[in-house]
């Protein structure tokens, strides 16, 4: 009998000191990696029901759906779990006219949300570039303490990390250690 194992589920780190910080595992969702000719994104946007971002690093959100452009021909899509099959169906219809690759990566990734005025400080511990410089509403793939993540800055003080589940414990452990430092203000 196979059991679905979801690391981090229901776990939370909260710091309520001078610089509040809240780190939590987000509810599971459908995730896709989409590779498509950038000239055909209008059709892909129609299939996904959300206009895909046109600049690398940009993020578009509509309701519960989110799209990040990671590279010249690569997008990272998330949607509610219930819409997983519908999205696959819509893209399968599109395949006849627009060849592309839509891979369900929902089971390989775990989402972590880092929120609060100390969010930047917490993330800076593992990310080697100036994340303060990336504007809200953008995202990128990067390295968090040797683990590859997709980082989305949802708001000024709210970040979302998407990481492979096999790396999730490692990332969580680092965040836990950092939040401890923030809590006792060192």
């Amino acid at each position: 009998m196979l059991h679905e194992h979801h690391p981090l589920v229901g776990r939370e780190i909260a710091v309520r000191e001078a610089a509040p910080l809240s780190i939590r595992a987000v509810a599971d969702c459908a995730r896709f990696s989409l590779r498509i000719d950038p000239a055909r994104i209008v059709e892909a946007s129609k299939a996904f029901g959300l206009s895909l971002p046109e600049r690398i690093g940009d993020v578009t959100v509509s309701g519960d759906r989110l799209a990040v452009r990671l590279g010249p021909d690569e997008w990272y899509l998330t949607a509610p779990l219930a819409e997983n099959q519908a999205i696959e169906r819509d893209f399968a219809k599109l395949y006849a006219t627009v060849p592309h690759s839509l891979v369900d990566v929902g089971h390989s990734e775990v989402g972590i949300e880092v929120e609060g005025t100390a969010a930047l400080l917490a993330l800076r511990s593992g990310i080697a570039f100036d994340i303060e410089a990336i504007p809200a509403g953008t995202g990128c793939r990067t390295i968090f303490n040797k683990a590859q993540i997709v980082l989305v800055r949802e708001a000024e003080n709210r970040f979302r990390i998407e990481v492979w589940r096999s790396f999730a414990d490692h990332v969580w452990g680092i965040l836990q250690a950092v939040s401890r430092e923030i809590a006792i203000d060192i």
Partner: protein, 100 residues
């Protein structure tokens, strides 16, 4: 840590996101079967290995995953400029401009 500007992401990213991918602007022979063994050997193995300005390929592996070209000084390890793959080798005046 070095910060490298990715010409596709148009942003400075840390060295750990990148991998080095050898010398740039090495064109594959149009018809390899016509080459002598010596010419084929030169294509495969002989590189310029300069002291100073070096044109090289890099890949933004943990970012946009694209290959691009960079100009780096092999003595100071400073990046002069980076440019998209497929673009011609920058001329000396462009490099001077980027250095200043």
């Amino acid at each position: 840590m070095l910060l490298i500007r990715c010409p596709y992401c148009e942003a400075e990213r840390p060295e750990v996101e990148f991998v080095y991918a050898g010398e740039a602007h090495i064109a594959r022979p149009a018809d390899p079967s016509k080459l002598t063994d010596d010419e084929w050997k030169s294509f495969l193995f002989i590189r310029s290995n300069p002291r100073g300005t070096h044109f090289e390929r890099w890949r933004h592996q943990h970012g946009c995953a694209r290959f691009f070209n960079a100009v780096r000084d092999t003595v100071s390890d400073k990046f002069v400029m980076t440019y998209k793959a497929g673009l011609p080798r920058p001329i000396e005046t462009e490099l001077e401009e980027a250095r200043s």
